[in-house]
């Protein structure tokens, strides 16, 4: 039994590596098909609608509350140093560089990623994907790719909306409720926030869009074609996307800081 342990460990390690490899191949396959996939504009638009436009309400609501909490916490913290005018800077940088992209990606994985995975899993379970292959339609190009592109396009836009709403939420708490000077709030923010900071958020959310989209379509497309398999694919989507987003966030921050 003890002798078998390393072998089992090795086997699971090999399996993990193989999964990583399959992910990479799937990503390459999607990227290779992207130029032609973009030409089928209607399909992509529909998926931007499903992934992006339908996530708008949850993103805006969360953004508002995250911004309000940041305003409250930031005010409390900065007040101790007597520099509550810097609230705008703190909130803007926090939202643009970290919270906007990350929280949006986590919500996106929960809201749109699960929908994608279960949809594709159900298509697999009900043999719709096999039927397409029978008709010589490549399901990756026809079904998977538009969904992937939909989330890649939606994520940066959702993150930008999140950050903006959050900023107004913080302004609502900081300026209206706590009495920070509105002019100081905005002018200090303008003075301290650079274009690079905004771009960092955009790049991050773009990468998260690729990650979340890839995980959702991969798990859904390769799910075991049973009711249980679809459920597991959905769960795996949330777990893998969330961990991947946080991991990538650290790496991107370390590179771009």
């Amino acid at each position: 039994m003890i002798a078998a342990l390393p072998r089992e460990l090795l086997a699971s390690l090999r399996e993990a590596l193989a999964t990583l490899g399959r992910y990479a191949f799937f990503l390459l396959r999607l990227l290779a098909a992207t130029p032609r996939g973009l030409l089928r504009f209607g399909l992509v638009v529909q998926q931007v609608h499903n992934a992006g436009a339908l996530s708008l309400v949850i993103i805006m609501l969360s953004g508002l509350f995250v911004g309000m909490v940041l305003g409250l916490q930031g005010f409390d913290l900065l007040q101790r140093f007597g520099s509550e005018e810097s609230l705008g800077v703190a909130v803007a940088l926090g939202l643009l560089k970290e919270l906007g992209p990350v929280v949006t990606a986590l919500l996106f994985a929960g809201r749109a990623g699960t929908a994608l995975a279960s949809e594709l899993g159900l298509m697999r379970a009900t043999d719709q994907l096999a039927a397409m292959e029978m008709m010589a339609v490549d399901p990756v190009r026809r079904v998977v790719l538009p969904r992937f592109l939909g989330s890649v396009i939606s994520m940066p836009l959702l993150a930008a909306i999140f950050s903006l709403i959050g900023l107004f939420g913080a302004q609502l708490i900081g300026v209206q409720l706590m009495g920070v000077d509105a002019g100081q709030f905005w002018s200090q923010m303008k003075g301290a926030v650079e274009l690079d900071d905004v771009m960092e958020g955009v790049i991050k959310s773009g990468v998260f869009g690729v990650a979340c989209g890839l995980v959702a379509v991969y798990e859904g497309y390769h799910s075991v074609p049973t009711a249980e398999g679809v459920g597991r694919a959905t769960t795996r989507t949330v777990v893998i996307s969330s961990v991947l987003v946080l991991l990538l966030d650290y790496m991107l921050t370390a590179v771009m800081l």
Binding site: G52, A160, V193
Partner: protein
């Protein structure tokens, strides 16, 4: 047909909203000003010490923002810092004997270049060098100077006290 139209409309609205948010973040939250970056003209000033001045810092006259710092380099001929300023084209009547200094906004604020107008009848043109410059004040140097002068005062005061006794 009706349904796809609604989807397209919703998607269009979403994309528009997203780009509007992005545009707002870029233009309103950062201090980036479009227009000044390309237009206007350049002035050069060399400083003994630029302190914490960074490219992109504002250039102001009497508190009015007239341009930005374009680049900061080290000049090995003069062994001084060489700062290139880009001034907006609307501010083309700065006397050519004006002086430039590196100032600090508030006690802990960022540093900026302040231009004080001279009395000359002729104006700066593209590529001109500002002759009169005042370096950034480095707080540490100021404090050490202050302490040093205090310390050299101390023995004198001590001997005076002794002689009084």
């Amino acid at each position: 047909m009706r349904q796809t139209r609604a989807i397209e409309l919703g998607t269009g609205l979403f994309v528009l909203l997203g780009f509007a948010a992005l545009f707002f973040l870029v233009t309103q939250v950062t201090s980036r000003q479009f227009g000044i970056g390309d237009g206007g003209y350049r002035l050069v000033a060399s400083f003994e010490q630029v302190g914490g001045l960074k490219p992109g810092a504002p250039v102001s006259m009497s508190g009015v923002n007239v341009g930005r710092v374009e680049s900061i380099e080290y000049d090995f001929k003069e062994y001084r810092a060489r700062v290139t300023l880009r001034i907006g084209s609307a501010y083309d009547r700065i006397p050519d004997d004006s002086d430039a200094g590196i100032l600090t906004a508030g006690l802990l604020g960022g540093q900026y270049v302040g231009i004080g107008p001279g009395a000359s009848e002729t104006f700066f043109r593209d590529g001109d060098q500002i002759q009169f410059t005042q370096s950034a004040i480095v707080l540490e140097n100021l404090i050490s100077k202050f302490l040093f002068s205090k310390a050299s005062e101390q023995p004198a005061a001590a001997t005076r006290e002794e002689s009084n006794r």
